[in-house]
């Protein structure tokens, strides 16, 4: 459970980074003219849409990890970390560390690569949905928003893949997604961005969390089983 709390925390702190991009959407989802309760419902729907995208991708990533590991002939119910899973953990750990360094501004931006005409059309489609009344629009915005390229999401998807089972991948992304809830809900409620100083601190915190997670994941791949500290944390709850 501890691992998922750590993920939740990383999501929470990381979401201060999100405010730059997704915060704009949260603000744009806007208030419901019928009052506070309706506004909260609207934002919950939006965040539910986002969460379900994350969870869906988490399950897929977990399955992908499983597919990569399975041909090695491992028995997933045992606690032994086989070679395939180790390699996966190393790759995911390195990716997360790279993301963290990017948060600190130490490496150039990695997350914007695959934005082709599809990406443009995508953001255009989101724009046209904003401000549409009714309960369906916020869900749709949330779903699309979840697919927008974001280094934070990539880092956690890498983590999800390294768990090498669908349920764990799901839980990783669920914990992460729920972690982003408070900040995003707050954005919707407050309706304005945090002071730049706090956002910078948030980004720094998010980077630290991802760096820590990345190191733990990397350790899972490199260190021998006996000396594995976080062993019970990040292996699937059998």
């Amino acid at each position: 459970m501890g691992a998922y709390l750590l993920l939740f925390g990383a999501g929470f702190l990381g979401s201060f980074h999100c405010m730059g991009m997704c915060g704009g959407f949260a603000c744009a989802v806007g208030r419901d003219p019928r009052g506070g309760g309706a506004t909260i419902a609207r934002h919950l729907l939006y965040n539910t849409g986002r969460l379900s995208t994350y969870c869906f991708m988490g399950v897929l990533a977990g399955m992908l990890g499983q597919i990569i590991c399975t041909p090695q002939g491992i028995n997933l119910s045992s606690n032994s970390l086989d070679l395939g899973q180790r390699i996966l953990a190393i790759a995911a750990g390195l990716l997360m560390i790279a993301m963290a360094l990017q948060f600190f501004g130490l490496v150039p931006n990695l997350g914007r690569g695959p934005l082709g005409f599809g990406g443009n059309t995508f953001s255009a489609s989101l724009r046209s949905l904003l401000g549409t009344p009714g309960p369906a629009a916020p869900i749709a915005i949330g779903v699309f928003n979840g697919f927008l390229p974001c280094p934070l999401v990539y880092a956690f998807l890498a983590q999800a893949a390294s768990t090498a089972t669908a349920p764990s991948g799901f839980l990783v992304m669920l914990a992460f997604g729920l972690g982003t809830f408070p900040a995003m809900l707050m954005m919707g409620g407050v309706g304005r961005l945090l002071a730049p100083v706090w956002r910078r601190r948030g980004v720094w915190l998010a980077g630290s969390c991802i760096l820590l997670l990345g190191l733990v994941t990397l350790g899972r791949g490199i260190l021998p089983l006996e000396s594995h500290i976080a062993h019970s944390w990040l292996t699937p709850p059998a």
Binding site: G49, S52, T53, C55, F56, V59, L60, G62, M63, Q66, F117, G118, T121, A124, S125, R127, S128, L129, L130, G131, T132, G134, A136, A137, I139, A140, I141, G142, V143, F144, T165, A166, P167, F170
Partner: protein, 728 residues
């Protein structure tokens, strides 16, 4: 405003609308789309947030995705064994939950497919949508029955919704890519939609181009397309006329310069007085011609259409048979049903229907942007398989500005000869006729009034002046009329002809009174063009009505061998010669000026008119090159071949993929969701393959003394074969 939308093809990708276009209202205006994907993509791109209609579609997509992702998520967790052992009692409830999610998802995502299938089915047609509807419907109904039955059997809501989701995403991606392709065609279809800024006193009003009449003042800002033919009366700029003339250099414009509709005003504001109505410009005609061509279907496309039409019912039968087969071979009914679904999904022939039209319209658009008009996709296909290119000398391989170099007359009155000849020849558009009329004008002679003028194709022209018969033309015409000639004149004519000059005999009152010798200069780039065409594996022939010596001299000058020249041919003889070539070589193209060789061009497999001055609408040739555009031929042919190659690789991929995947599906080796994913990516692959056509290089002018700015090194980029570089 409904009619233009129909006329223009799909509002999103500009391709022709199918037999049953989708109609939608976006931002209060009606639009027509060729497919569901284009409809989505168009609304994503252009829909404004205030417009409920546009937003509604996206919401459907988003909510559909939300539901199907949740269904998929839960199902994946189930497959991964999350609910085994102690939690197994939850299973029926989870299935119920899935059903609750799946029902709206199915309605939201499957609605458009269902509507399309229904509309077509009522007219007795089975479309690809029907395959999806039947397959998905079967999976859904089976799963719902399993939930109601409470047997705890497997449910396949995830498969049903995921297949729909993937098809929706696939058609959206396809439409997005097609719109990108359509950007190429946009300026060519824009003529009627273009808006002109009309200056009326001190007011400026925006009006559609079709409302512009001759004499109106139109202001054109830098960067805008010039909407009318006219004359500059204020301002200075450069213009890019490539789309009309194929000329890629920018042309300077100042007060008094003529401007062409369709060209781009590059760097300065212009005030132009229209010389023509907005609808009668060459540009407007080009646009109409391109649109006509796009709405036609080439032979390959027609075959593909037939295959698609036949395959849908066959696939349905195959799907049902697959299910029956597997059930009777001891496989559970639900597994067999899934295999059947995979068969239906994978055999969906969407890609086959897409293979040809996209590549063809890209090719037509590519050519049109350089001023080459294709009037029928079939011509493009025929051009790709052409083995022999026959040229008509007059006006196509020459500068089409012959000059009179000598006048030999019986009575020694060259001015009278010229005035009479000019009076007759000004009724003709033949290159020689114009030369005669111009020579008369240059000497300040008044053409003699002539009536009852009759043009005699391949021979000349005759008429009456002051009641006297008068004729001008070749030797054959004079012999036909039985007009006599003095031996001295005959002698002169022979020696001039032997020198390679083109001879026009002029006579009146039953006698040949004079011979005019004209010099026909070959175009400087002709030699290069001929060699380039040869290096593309084409045989060359020269079919001319000119006399033997003149044609020989000309052929030698441009690098055509003596055995490839046929001289002194009448139009009928040219048709016969073409027929012979067709027997020996296969597909034959004829290049002419489109004026006096109309029947021959129409008779060839591909008629190519160069710089035709006749009305485009009455044009008999299938391909029209801009004036002086013979040098583009190697490029045009390599483009036609590229288009054909693209179509064939597309079809090979589409059919090959369908066959392999179908086999796998029938054998039960392909998951339906995987099948849908491959299906969607297959269409995208075809589009990417077709889009490569937009990256082909522009034609490059061959090196010649008249274009000193261009280097010889630039040629091989036009052609794949290096031998083009060896010419000097």
């Amino acid at each position: 405003m409904n009619a233009p939308a129909q006329l223009d093809g799909c509002s999103h990708c500009l391709l022709p609308l199918g037999r049953r276009p989708m109609q939608r209202t976006v931002n209060g205006e009606p639009f027509a789309f060729c497919c569901y994907g284009c409809c989505i993509a168009f609304q994503v791109k252009n829909g404004k947030s205030e417009e409920w209609d546009a937003a509604w579609l996206l919401i459907r997509l988003g909510v559909g995705a939300f539901l199907s992702m949740n269904i998929m998520l839960i199902s994946l967790l189930l497959y991964a064994g999350a609910l085994e052992g102690a939690d197994a009692w939850l299973l029926p409830w989870i299935h119920l939950l899935l059903w609750i999610f799946a029902t709206p998802a199915l309605l939201i995502l499957g609605g458009p497919f269902l509507r399309d299938a229904w509309v077509n089915a009522r007219e007795g047609r089975l479309t690809a949508s029907a395959l999806i509807v039947v397959g998905v419907g079967a999976a859904y109904v089976y799963s719902a029955l399993a939930v109601i039955g409470g047997s705890g059997g497997e449910v396949y809501f995830d498969t049903a919704t995921m297949v729909l989701m993937l098809f929706t995403i696939g058609s959206y991606l396809e439409a997005a890519a097609r719109a990108r392709a359509a950007r190429d065609l946009e300026p060519l279809l824009a003529a009627e939609r273009e808006v002109a800024t009309i200056v009326d006193g001190d007011k400026e009003i925006m009006r559609p181009v079709r409302e512009v009449a001759a004499g109106m003042l139109v202001r054109i800002r830098p960067g805008e397309r010039i909407p009318v033919d006219g004359v500059v009366i204020e301002g200075q700029s450069h213009s890019d006329e490539a789309i009309i003339t194929g000329e890629s250099r920018h042309i300077g414009k100042g007060v008094g310069s003529p401007v062409l509709a369709g060209s781009i005003n590059i760097d300065g504001p212009l005030l132009v007085r229209a010389t023509d109505a907005g609808t009668s410009t060459r540009w407007a005609k080009i646009c109409r011609s391109v649109r006509d061509a796009l709405s036609r279907r080439g032979p390959i496309q027609r075959i593909a259409d037939i295959v698609v039409g036949v395959s849908v019912p066959l696939v349905l039968i195959l799907g049902v048979m697959t299910v029956l087969y597997w059930t009777s071979h001891g496989i559970l009914f639900d597994r067999a049903l899934l295999i059947g679904l995979a068969v239906l999904v994978v055999a969906c022939p969407c890609a086959v229907g897409l293979a040809a039209p996209l590549a063809t319209s890209l090719g037509i658009g590519r050519l049109a942007r350089c001023g080459c008009l294709v009037r029928d996709p079939a011509a493009l296909e025929a051009l790709a398989s052409t083995r022999l290119l026959a040229f008509d000398k007059t006006g196509t391989l020459t500068l089409s500005k012959p000059r009179i170099v000598a006048i030999e007359s019986e009575a020694g009155r060259p001015d009278e000869v010229l005035a009479r000849a000019a009076g007759l020849e000004r009724y003709s558009e033949h290159g020689l006729a114009r030369a005669i009329a111009m020579a008369a004008a240059a000497r300040g002679l008044e053409p003699v009034k002539t009536s009852e003028v009759v043009a005699l194709p391949g021979r000349g022209i005759r008429g009456r002046t002051h009641g006297q018969a008068i004729a001008a033309g070749n030797r054959a015409l004079m012999d036909e009329l039985g007009w006599a000639m003095s031996p001295a004149l005959d002698q002169r004519a022979h020696s001039l002809e032997a020198g390679g000059h083109t001879i026009v005999y002029v006579g009146w009152e039953g006698r040949v009174e004079a011979v005019l010798a004209l010099d026909d200069t070959p175009l400087p780039e002709t030699r290069w063009t001929i060699e380039a065409l040869r290096s593309q594996g084409l045989a060359i022939a020269l079919l001319t009505g000119d006399a033997h010596q003149a044609a020989r001299r000309f052929a030698t000058a441009v690098g055509i061998g003596m055995d490839e020249v046929e001289t002194g041919l009448s139009p009928e003889a040219k048709c016969e010669a073409l027929e012979n070539y067709r027997r020996t070589h296969g597909v034959v193209a004829m290049v002419g000026d489109g004026l006096n060789d109309g029947p021959v061009l129409a008779d060839a497999d591909v008629g190519i008119a160069v710089g035709s001055a006749t009305d485009l609408a009455r044009e008999t040739s299938a391909l029209v090159l801009p004036p002086g555009g013979v040098w583009m031929l190697p490029w045009v042919i390599s483009l036609a071949r590229q288009v054909r190659r693209t179509i064939l690789t597309n079809l090979a991929w589409a059919f090959g993929y369908n066959l392999v995947a179908l086999t796998l599906a029938v054998l039960g080796l392909l998951q339906p969701v995987l099948a849908a994913a491959i299906m969607a990516s297959s269409s995208v692959l075809l589009i990417v393959n077709s889009l490569r056509l937009t990256r082909l290089p522009d034609p490059i002018l061959p090196p010649s003394p008249s274009w000193p700015g261009l280097t010889r090194q630039s040629i091989p980029t036009v052609l794949s074969t290096p031998s083009g570089a060896s010419t000097a």
